[in-house]
């Protein structure tokens, strides 16, 4: 029974995707039901599977379709608390996103393929979660990658979307190749692709190269989950539609890497080197991405960098051996980050710009999108880790795990002795986690204040768009399909943390490790978060005061002064492009959208928003806004040599090989020209030559005899 339900969960969205692609343009009315209903059914089934399986049990089933050589590949299902809980998360988020998309992309000409791809992605994610076989898992993993590629490039008319999709694909592929070899090495050591078999082998000490395997697998995890060296694709992937960012690049796909490490954690625990690498990677990712998030002007990029940082938290928890904390944070993060992205979509939809600076120009944005305003506040509080929101509890569980590991008492849930986790990892994760907690609170506060709370006095009157005034009247301009998923997701964002407190609820599904925050880290974490909020608030007040001063002073001189202090980095300089994207959003005519975008451009060009980021970051502002130049470094170290090599190959092909070809063609051509002279059309000449040849042959034969 449970097994049938579990098989149906990935199957339904898959069939929905196929049917959606087949129905496609012919029956447009069917697209939305075909996208939404299978996903919702899958979500319901996932809940049923989770309830049916209950706590503390796991289910393994496998069938072998065909013999596949040395190491058999099975169609295996492995259900335990981790997979069923995450499947519930995926189902709920995917359902919300599909409902939200019906409205957000209603007038998009490619909505049918979009919906089918999202369904296909959902099916692949379910497959990854439920699969008990590494090769089958890899299939789902790669299908997710290709879906992500297509969905990031949904607006392929735009240059940035095209390049972002290619970048996402290539960078994740870069990690996937070592990942594939890691799976092979793992299977070669364990003798099976079945995850249960691999874990049994790890427990029995049959794995002879745990460090190598773990490091190879980590490459794939870093690519998929956007960890430090390979994280650069995720901020760019925000060129995709906002619901896609919410589903794929925040809540689910990027979590697949974390999930995989959690599943194979016993393998990683065999190698302390791999754990140190994972911990350092997580720490660098956390701090760096938090700094970057603080400097971004594009609201979606802020959220993308925060996703990278939160994934760093999960990786840190895994590095300390506590997969319960990682999965707990994964669940809460999936809920509140999806909420944040969907709310950001609503805000972008209403403001017709991605730029925070431009949003700060709009005095009534708060009133125009009240649902997004409130839900975003909830999401940001959860993100910042303010109690009692869900993010606080999950983050504290991570910090607790790090603290315990630092004291040599790692919470491994019985998978390995506590000494398997080096204490240094615990310290690294703990320090980085606290620092990131501070920064996270700062950028969450900054995002909220700049976007919604900029006082009217700080907004230069000249920049106020005249055309925007009449558009302020409708309070709830957004369609219901875009508002209700926000509130639906707000519930777990608020309350999900509480389930971690009770030892018989969430932990009983997992390894049974207590998720209750320990006293010291709870106090420390809360203080850090509150400090971040306060610092950010103070900086914002100061920036606002500066702007107000400038407004009262001579405008020209003040503008000059203010350019130095408050001009945002990475301003969205092309609001018209964004308009082209957003003009397809319902509820607004194109001309109106264009007028709004013009005002946004004007606002961005005058550029005096009370942005606390510059005051907070100081000299780090420039590098942080550019992602610490990592893209430029990659361009210099990797892209340019590859391009140069390609140019060399092109040169060799054009100039050297083609010369040989031309020579090879030219010599016969010359010969042909010579022979062609004999082709004079006189049959008697031909015949003479023929007879002469025959005579010569006859003479030769006669002489030879």
């Amino acid at each position: 029974m449970t097994l049938t339900l579990a098989v149906l969960v990935p199957l339904l969205p898959f069939l929905g995707a196929l049917a959606g692609l087949a129905a496609g343009r012919r029956i447009p009315g069917l697209i939305a039901p075909l996208a939404v209903l299978p996903t919702l059914a899958s979500a319901a089934l996932a809940v049923a599977v989770a309830c049916d399986l209950g706590t503390g049990r796991h289910l393994d089933a496998a069938t072998r379709l065909t013999p596949t050589g040395g190491i058999p590949i099975d169609l295996a299902v492995h259900l335990d608390g981790f997979s069923t809980l995450l499947a519930v998360l995926v189902g709920v988020v995917a359902g919300c996103v599909q409902i939200y998309s019906t409205s957000y992309l209603r007038d998009d000409p490619r909505y049918s393929s979009y919906a089918a791809l999202v369904s296909l992605f959902t099916a692949a994610m379910f497959l990854v979660l439920y699969s008990g076989d590494l090769i089958v898992l890899l299939v789902g993993w790669e299908v997710m990658g290709i879906c992500s590629y297509f969905l990031v490039g949904h607006h392929w008319e735009r240059d940035d979307a095209r390049s972002a999709s290619i970048k996402a694909f290539l960078v994740t592929k870069l990690g996937d190749i070592p990942f594939l070899f890691g799976i092979f090495a793992l299977a070669a050591d364990a003798g099976t692709f079945r995850i249960s078999g691999v874990l049994a082998a790890a427990a029995n000490g049959q794995l002879h190269h745990p460090t190598l395997i773990a490091l190879l697998l980590l490459c794939g995890v870093a690519g998929k989950s956007a960890q430090f060296p390979l994280h650069t694709w995720l901020p760019d992937a925000m060129a995709g539609p906002t619901p896609v960012s919410a589903l794929i690049h925040a809540a689910t796909m990027v979590a697949a890497g974390i999930y995989l490490v959690a599943r194979l954690l016993p393998v990683f625990l065999l190698s302390s080197a791999a754990l140190i690498v994972l911990g350092v990677m997580a720490a660098v990712t956390m701090v760096g991405s938090a700094l970057c998030a603080l400097a971004q002007d594009d609201i979606k990029r802020v959220l993308a960098y925060s996703t990278v940082g939160q994934l760093g938290y999960m990786a840190g928890a895994l590095a300390t051996g506590d997969r319960d904390a990682a999965v707990f944070h994964l669940l809460t993060h999936g809920a509140f980050k999806a909420l944040l992205f969907l709310a950001a979509g609503v805000v972008i939809h209403a403001a017709h710009t991605n730029s925070l600076t431009a949003m700060s120009r709009m005095p009534d944005l708060r009133r125009r999108v009240p649902d997004a305003y409130w839900t975003m506040a909830i999401g940001l509080l959860a993100l910042a880790g303010i109690p009692p929101f869900s993010g606080f509890f999950s983050k504290e569980s991570v910090l607790t795990a790090a603290e315990r590991a630092a004291h040599g008492e790692a919470l491994t849930g019985g998978l390995a002795p506590a000494t398997a986790v080096p204490g240094a990892v615990g310290w690294i994760v703990l320090v980085a986690g606290l620092l990131t907690g501070l920064l996270t609170a700062m950028y969450a506060t900054r995002l909220w204040l700049v976007a919604f709370r900029t006082p009217g006095a700080a907004q230069p009157a000249a920049a106020l768009p005249a055309t925007a005034q009449p558009g302020t009247a409708p309070v709830s301009a957004e369609p219901n399909a875009m508002r209700w998923p926000l509130w639906l997701l707000a519930v777990p964002a608020v309350a999900l943390g509480l389930v971690g407190l009770h030892s018989s609820w969430l932990p009983s599904f997992l390894d049974g490790v207590s998720l209750t925050p320990s006293g010291s880290t709870a106090i420390l974490g809360t203080c850090v978060a509150l400090a971040g909020v306060l610092v950010s608030y103070a900086a914002w007040r100061r920036a606002t005061a500066l702007v107000l001063d400038a407004a009262t002073a001579s405008p020209r001189r003040a503008a000059h002064e203010l350019d130095e202090s408050t001009r945002p980095q990475g301003t969205a300089a092309e609001p018209r492009e964004i308009t082209a994207d957003l003009a397809t959003v319902p509820g607004r005519s194109f001309a109106e959208a264009l007028a709004d975008a013009d005002s946004a451009a004007l606002a961005a060009s005058t550029g005096h928003a009370p942005d606390p980021a510059r005051l907070l970051l100081g000299p780090l502002m420039g590098p942080a806004a550019n992602g610490f130049g990592l893209d430029r470094l990659y361009a210099a170290v990797l892209v340019r040599p590859v391009l140069a090599a390609a140019g060399l190959v092109r040169f060799l092909d054009r100039e050297v090989i083609e010369t040989y070809l031309a020579g090879a063609a030219g010599a016969p051509k010359l010969l042909g020209a010579a022979v062609r002279k004999a082709q004079n059309g006189n049959a008697q000449t031909y015949l003479s030559a023929l007879v002469a040849g025959a005579v010569v042959l006859a003479v030769l034969v006669a002489v030879a005899q």
Partner: protein, 146 residues
């Protein structure tokens, strides 16, 4: 009788025919030379048949076949020559050069090239300036008179 006599006669006759085929300009004369060559072969067949006393008379039977085929050949050949004469206005072998490589390099032999070919090769010939259509008409008039 020595076999050498008919054999040498056949060889010489064959070579005379060969010369005619290669040297004659008129297509009908060429066909006549071909007949000479065929007869040389026939002579060989008969002579060797007599020498070998073949019980199946293969040589003589083949001679009969050759004669028959030669008759068919000359009938068809003349018909072809006649048709060439009608369309091209001449039965001169060395003026029928449409299959030659066109002088312009790389140009495919189009219809203009096909007409210009004979004109270029022998501008002194009186028949070449006339257009094919008028020649056809006059040839038909002649054929009708015959």
């Amino acid at each position: 009788m020595h076999l050498a006599y008919p054999a040498v006669l056949a060889a010489l006759l064959f070579c005379v025919g060969l010369y005619g085929v290669l040297a004659r300009r008129n297509a009908v004369l060429m066909l006549m030379s071909v007949e000479l060559m065929l007869n040389a072969v026939n002579l060989n067949l008969v002579a060797f048949d007599v020498w070998l006393r073949d019980t199946l008379h293969a040589g003589q039977a083949l001679t009969l076949f050759t004669i028959t085929i030669a008759a068919a050949e000359i009938g068809l050949g003349l018909a072809i020559v006649l048709m060439v004469f009608r369309t091209q206005g001449t039965a001169d072998i060395d003026r029928l050069r449409e299959l030659s490589e066109p002088p312009a390099d790389g140009l495919p032999p189009g219809p203009t090239g096909a007409e210009a070919g004979p004109d270029d090769s022998d501008t002194a010939s009186p028949a070449s300036p006339a257009s094919p259509a008028s020649l056809t008409g006059s040839a038909q008039g002649k054929a009708g008179a015959v």
